[in-house]
């Protein structure tokens, strides 16, 4: 056979076109997961020096400003002032809990969440005697989505200056969010995801300049079956973390 014949023969060969779909899918998931880890650790490396700088700055500010504006003393003062307010006290007595607190200027902001939604009568009886409650239209109605309360405390005047209701809508998850939530949940091998749905609406306090605002968090609930039990993982899509994992149901075929 001449070299030309060999070239011709090689050029005419029909080559196989083979793909391993399962492998492709698994490797894709693995790479995506690794990528998220890489992004999170990169973010961590960027945030850590910033965090240290912030602590140093905080220490400097602490010495230059009134100490009650920041730190545990400020928080304790805010709590004492809030508990003197009848509206705030009614909320706490009806089972509400403080879920977040932030300081800005000479004010403290508390985000108060009702564990169970109040029915209208209870809601009126709890809040009806507070002159500080903003009479927004959403307040007068029974809230359909989850309602939380933003309490503004004036540390200089030592009084609660405002209690406003914040309605946190439940927003649907996009396919991308669901994929990400599934990966963050890091379910054990052999487990099967049954459902990925938006977590009950929840808010957090966000500082925007000198303003403090309540914003909805981006969380999802991943329900999966593992070892004949149903588990539920609450994941924070923005922070790429699992917040909690709980067992919700035993195997129905047993017992």
């Amino acid at each position: 056979m001449t070299e030309q014949d060999l070239i011709k023969k090689l050029e005419q060969i029909k080559v196989p076109e083979i793909e391993l779909i399962t492998h492709k899918k698994e490797l894709r998931t693995y790479l995506l997961k690794q990528g998220f880890k890489k992004e999170s650790s990169k973010l961590g490396r960027q945030v850590l020096p910033m965090g240290l700088a912030f602590v140093v700055l905080l220490a400097l500010v602490f010495n230059l400003t009134n100490f009650w504006q920041l730190g545990p003393a400020g928080l304790a003062l805010a709590k004492t002032i809030a508990m003197k307010d009848s509206g705030f006290r009614s909320l706490i007595e009806s089972g509400a809990v403080v879920v977040d607190i932030q300081m800005a200027d000479s004010k403290a902001y508390m985000l108060v969440s009702l564990v169970e939604p109040l029915i209208k009568e209870e809601f009126d009886s709890v809040m009806g005697n507070s002159e500080l409650l903003l009479k927004a239209s959403s307040v007068a109605e029974v809230p359909e989505s989850k309602s939380e309360f933003l309490v503004e405390i004036n540390l200089k005047d030592k009084k609660v200056s405002q209690i406003s209701e914040v309605t946190i809508p439940s927003s649907p998850l996009s396919d991308q969010d669901k994929e990400k939530a599934g990966l963050i949940a890091d379910i054990p091998a052999g487990a099967i995801i049954q459902e990925i749905k938006p977590a009950p609406p929840q808010a957090k306090l966000i500082r925007k300049g000198n303003e403090i605002k309540a914003e909805a968090t981006s969380k999802a609930t991943v329900i999966y079956r593992s070892q004949q039990k149903t588990w539920q993982a609450l994941v924070d899509i923005d922070k790429n973390i699992i917040e909690s994992i709980e067992f919700i149901e035993k195997d129905a075929t047993k017992d």
């Binding site: 060999l6 060969i13 196989p16 083979i18 492709k24 690794q34 992004e39």
Partner: protein, 191 residues
């Protein structure tokens, strides 16, 4: 995917793993095909392809477009180069390149096993390819890679030069010498 689209995706992939998976979706069949044509074994190819993409993800920040005469190496050439290095490692060590990091999900192990058997069966039907692949694999690695890229992957000399980081002259010379060696060692072929 054109040059500009790929360039933009690579830029995004350095920060965002979702962009990386878009590149992966596009290149997986190509890289798998190349590795399979080099090794002739589905199972080994699977492991080498895993290693290739894991290394690509780890090192994507080091990937740079080299603005040489007109066109620099594209992302695809870079992936082919990683795959070539992994294949060379495999042939040198003669042991499977099983990733310690990427272990198949037990849920889909049986699906994957069946798929591999099916793929091996499909591969065995390409008798001509198998015959030449087995002959090429007996050559030195430097001839194996140029011959497979040129005749099985249908790459141009310029593209092969880009993938292997060698000059076009070197590639032409390797091709010529590789063909001579292949011809000499080949058993007679019945037409």
């Amino acid at each position: 995917m054109d040059f500009n689209q790929e360039r933009q995706l690579v830029k995004e992939a350095k920060k965002n793993s979702e962009a990386f998976t878009r590149l992966y979706d596009y290149y997986y069949p190509r890289i798998f095909g190349y590795v399979l044509k080099r090794t002739g074994d589905v199972e080994i190819s699977k492991d080498i392809v895993s290693e290739t993409f894991i290394k690509a993800l780890k090192n994507i920040n080091q990937f740079q477009w080299r603005q040489t005469i007109g066109i620099g190496p594209n992302f695809g050439s870079w992936l082919y180069r990683i795959a070539s290095n992994e294949i060379s490692n495999f042939f040198r060590k003669q042991k499977p390149v099983t990733s310690l990091e990427f272990i198949s999900d037990p849920r889909s192990e049986s699906d994957l096993h069946n798929e591999i058997i099916e793929a091996q069966t499909k591969l065995a039907r390409h008798e001509d390819f198998i015959f030449f692949q087995k002959q090429i694999v007996l050559l030195s690695l430097k001839y194996q890679e140029v011959l497979v890229l040129r005749f099985f992957e249908k790459k141009k000399v310029k593209e092969i030069a880009e993938i292997l980081g060698k000059s076009q002259g070197t590639i032409k010379s390797l091709l010529h010498r590789g063909l001579i060696k292949l011809r000499k060692q080949m058993p007679p072929i019945k037409d």
